[in-house]
């Protein structure tokens, strides 16, 4: 591949951020317009990658390799395969949604806002394409800063608390991962931070549980898994709408992606030992998240807890070691990004109109803003896994794969699907149906053209993925097989 597409994907947002910094502070239209153009170009770049991706191989593609700190075996090594491919496109797509979604919400310090978003995009893409543990860690940690600033500057009342909590929680996990990376470097004798090199070595069996645990803690906090999920509702409730879209849509995926890319391939024996624990925690997360979501007073907190549930499905799909479940988990990452992203977008639209997220403040909105109501219900259907829409395929594959490994897992997790219908539909009922009880709600404007365009695009994807899931599933199969091979060597897959 002659075009260094991945480096372009990483560097272009940074360049765009630099250009944004040089634009005149007062010309908000120009800043917003440029930010949109920038993420659109970035999305275009990712489509170029989509067009040139070879589906039937587990090889890394678009690989670039340059020595960075050669004396320590650190290199700039990037590439994508079936595991990371869709996540890259999901990231550029959600940015394309998140930037215009902020146009009317953000009116102070506009310039910094878009600068931070563009830097964030670069860091997130870097995490997905890095194939060197040092490089990965750099992007992983660096992505915290713009996100925390977005929450802390443009968030709601408790924003500072939420931003600091977000950083400290994530750091707590990732710092131990840093030590684990160092131990890995020395203990394997590879003297390299290159993931592909490290995968060729066998990590000593006595070290694997420790290293697995250190990596798993970092990823579990990011996912977030029960019981380290407590930062998530705070961060979501306080973040501006676009921040929540990216937080739920992309940041949470970093953790799940990390489990797949690092834990499964580097520590196959420990993955086997720890899988039951992680599966049980994932299932607790599914049930606990759903039950907690049901009793939330705040619409945004409700969706935040629904993320805990959905991410539980994804972790379940990863740790039952089955082709279907793992494919379903990856698909579900994309699905969750789109449907939860859309839900946060819509809650953000409500907030712009009413400056509250409290469910009790609403009621009967269906009559006032019917178009909004339609999309709200539609996205909820996607989120609860209605057949024909995208969420169904992912959850079904995960449950199918889990059933083969252990029917009990699938049986308990399936309860989560039912609970999802309960808390989402109940929330819909309280917000959209019944009489309009609050005077302020009587004059709410329905969707404008910009908002409608964003939701139409997302709804179209929800339908398309629901009908043609193979288009997403096929390119990942070879990589999923390859991934399970690591654990097959450890004598795990039947």
């Amino acid at each position: 591949m002659s075009v260094p597409i991945l480096t372009l994907l990483i560097l272009f947002p940074l360049l765009a951020a630099l250009i944004t910094a040089l634009l005149p502070r007062d010309n908000m239209r120009l800043i917003k317009g440029w930010a949109f153009v920038a993420v659109a170009i970035e999305f275009g770049l990712s489509l170029y990658m989509l067009a040139n991706f070879v589906p039937n191989t587990s090889q890394m593609q678009f690989v670039e390799f340059y020595p960075w700190v050669p004396q320590f075996g650190i290199s700039y090594h990037v590439g994508v395969d079936g595991l990371s491919f869709w996540l890259v496109i999901l990231t550029t797509f959600l940015m394309l949604i998140a930037i215009p979604a902020s146009f009317s919400e953000i009116n102070v310090r506009v310039k910094e806002y878009f600068i931070f978003f563009l830097i964030l995009e670069s860091a997130l893409l870097g995490v997905f394409v890095a194939l060197d543990l040092f490089l990965f860690y750099v992007f992983w940690e660096f992505s915290l800063i713009p996100m925390a600033l977005i929450i802390g500057i443009w968030g709601h009342e408790q924003r500072i608390y939420a931003a600091v909590k977000f950083i400290l929680f994530t750091m707590a996990g990732s710092l131990l991962m840093l030590v684990a990376i160092l131990v890995l470097y020395f203990a394997t004798g590879a003297r390299s931070f290159d993931l592909l090199e490290l995968q060729k070595t066998i990590v000593p069996a006595n070290l694997q549980p420790w290293l697995f645990a250190a990596f798993a803690l970092a990823f579990a906090i990011k996912v977030p898994m029960f019981p380290v999920h407590t930062w998530l509702p705070d961060a979501h409730v306080q973040a501006p709408a676009a921040g929540s879209i990216i937080l739920a849509g992309v940041l949470l995926k970093l953790g799940a992606y990390g489990f797949m890319r690092y834990n499964l391939t580097l520590f196959p024996d420990a993955s086997q030992q720890f899988a039951p624990i992680l599966v049980v925690l994932a299932i607790i997360g599914i049930i606990y998240g759903a039950m907690t979501a049901a009793v939330q007073k705040d619409l945004k907190a409700l969706i935040a807890y629904s993320s805990v549930t959905h991410m539980g499905f994804i972790i379940l799909g990863i740790f039952v070691f089955s082709q279907q479940a793992l494919s379903g988990a990856i698909l579900q990452m994309v699905n969750h990004g789109i449907s939860t992203g859309a839900l946060f977008l819509m809650v953000g639209l409500l907030y712009e109109r009413r400056h509250t997220h409290l469910i009790t403040e609403f009621g009967g909105l269906q009559k006032v803003i019917p178009v909004f109501g339609f999309f709200f219900l539609f996205v909820m259907f996607s989120s609860m896994g209605l057949p024909g829409l995208n969420g169904f395929v992912g959850e079904f594959l995960v449950l199918l794969g889990s059933w083969e490994t252990n029917p009990a897992y699938a049986a308990v997790a399936a309860v989560g699907v039912i609970l999802a219908a309960i808390y989402l539909l109940w929330a819909y009922q309280r917000v959209m149906q019944g009489p309009v009880t609050n005077e302020k709600n009587k004059t709410l404007p329905d969707l404008n053209r910009r908002e409608l365009a964003l939701l139409v695009v997302m709804a179209a994807l929800i339908v398309l993925i629901g009908i043609f899931p193979d288009y997403l599933l096929n390119p990942m199969q070879a990589s999923v097989t390859q991934l399970l091979h690591f654990d097959a060597v450890a004598g795990l897959v039947k």
């Binding site: 940690e141 400290l168 710092l175 840093l178």
Partner: protein, 480 residues
């Protein structure tokens, strides 16, 4: 016994001689030439530092020694000398407008500063306890005066007094340690001490080394010898605080490492365990105390203590890898800490500084570039990639893991987590809160030289983080 005059070779001493000569020239010019504000003397100081940096650099790779092996200009000493000289260069740039705004005298200030540089480089070059002591005193005495240099400011006077009293006390410890070591071994040369001890334990020797440890611990700021640091750092003029925090640390650590790694065999005195404990206590106390600070200079003082703990980890490792990691750390710490203090100066106005957390509120909206500089410096200190501080910690903890000190690395990263909280404090204030009372007026432009200096150190902070390869190769070659 016939007395032989050792061969006189002044070349390896150039890193110490040139600043000393420049200091004298500045004193003479200050006394003899007319004029009230002698701002231009700063140019002389900068020139002198540039010249000494040049000659220091030419010494690189030559591995010379002089005065009966009591001065050794090997690559490690050269590296430390360059860090000190570069730190002083930036400090002069940071000082010009600071002194102007407060009507302070340029001649004395610059002469003292260069005198301290001379002491620091001497300490870095020293291979003999007496020479180390000479360097130690030569760097300390000017710093005592410089701490109290803003004589109309009570805090500054208090800082100078405290530093002097406690510093003199620690010098006495150090000197007595030298006496005991001399008594036990009959020499003050580091290599000869090692062969004289011959791997056997000896109470006199151990007591002497213990006293030396107190002296070094005082200078680099190890717990429990750190009590002076917060008060002195808070009271001293900000450029001096920045200078002390980086250059004194570099010079003192250079001598500290050299004394223990060369002169003290582990069989005679198991200092690795003691250092490991000191490192843990130092980083923990520094970080926890920093959590509750409301003044950014005090916060950075405790951060300096914590960082001394991290650097000490490299000494525990006790090999070439640790030494090169320490050199990298000291270089990285120099640029990022000077960036932090430089940004604090740049955030001020006239002779007022935004020092308390509440004064920092909203600064990002009034001085966005200075606030961004402080934010980058603090993120680097907190160990966030892609800044220098992250790579520095990565190398130090890497060396620890490689030497089997995984537990020390784990305690180190847990400490970093605590540290993240207080380093974020000023960033949260600057970016996420409305402007502070009394600071709402439109700020004056940042003076060009100050801005230049801050930009340089910030770019280095980013550059060492993004492209650590060259500096780390230099650090590795320096310890071969």
């Amino acid at each position: 016994m016939p007395f032989t005059i050792p061969e006189i070779n002044l070349v390896p001493l150039l890193p110490a001689l040139i600043p000393a000569v420049t200091a004298m020239l500045i004193m003479l010019a200050d006394a003899l030439l007319p004029g009230k504000s002698k701002r231009w003397l700063a140019a002389v100081a900068l020139l002198g530092l540039a010249v000494s940096a040049y000659f220091t650099f030419t010494l690189y790779g030559t591995d010379q020694s002089a005065f009966n092996n009591s001065i050794v200009a090997n690559n490690f000493s050269i590296g430390i000398c360059l860090v000190v000289i570069a730190g002083a260069f930036i400090t002069v740039l940071l000082s010009i407008d600071f002194l102007n705004a407060r009507n302070l005298d340029f001649g004395e200030y610059l002469a003292l500063l260069l005198g301290a540089v001379s002491g620091m480089t001497l300490m870095a070059l020293a291979n003999d306890l007496i020479v180390i002591f000479l360097g130690l005193e030569l760097l300390s005495l000017p710093l005592y005066v410089l701490s109290a240099f803003w004589r109309t400011n009570d805090l500054s006077l208090e800082a100078g007094m405290k530093y002097f009293l406690l510093g003199a006390f620690s010098s006495a410890f150090f000197l007595y340690g030298i006496a005991l070591v001399y008594g036990a071994t009959g020499t003050t040369n580091l290599e000869l001490i090692r062969s004289a001890v011959d791997g056997t334990s000896n109470m006199l020797f151990v007591a002497g080394i213990g006293l030396l440890l107190v002296g070094f611990g005082f200078k680099v700021g190890l717990v429990p010898f750190q009590w002076w640091i917060p008060d002195v750092y808070e009271g001293a003029p900000t450029p001096i605080t920045g200078f002390m925090s980086v250059a004194t640390k570099a010079a003192a650590f250079a001598a500290f490492f050299r004394v223990f790694m060369i002169a003290v065999p582990l069989t005679a005195f198991d200092w690795q365990t003691i250092m490991a404990l000191l490192a843990v206590v130092t980083m923990t106390v520094g970080n926890i105390a920093a959590l509750v600070q409301t003044n950014i200079k005090r916060m950075l003082a405790y951060s300096a203590i914590a960082n001394a703990g991290y650097i000490l980890v490299a000494l525990v490792v006790n090999n070439a890898e640790g030494l090169s990691a320490a050199l990298f750390y000291l270089a990285a710490y120099t640029v990022m800490n000077l960036a932090a203090f430089g940004a604090v100066i740049a955030l001020g106005q006239g002779d007022r500084e935004r020092l308390t957390m509440s004064e920092l509120s909203g600064a990002a909206q009034q001085k966005p570039w200075a606030a961004a500089a402080l934010a980058i410096a603090l993120l680097s200190l907190a160990g966030f990639p892609p800044f220098a501080g992250f790579v520095a910690k990565f190398f130090v903890f890497g060396a620890a893991v490689n030497a089997g000190y995984v537990w020390l690395a784990v305690i180190g990263v847990l400490n970093s987590l605590v540290a993240v909280y207080y380093y974020l404090g000023p960033i949260v204030r600057m970016y996420m809160q409305p402007p502070a009372e009394g600071w709402q007026q439109t700020p004056a432009r940042t003076p060009a030289l100050l801005a230049f200096a801050v930009v340089v150190v910030v770019l280095l902070t980013i550059g060492f983080g993004l492209f650590p390869s060259e500096l780390s190769q230099f650090a590795q070659a320096a310890v071969k």
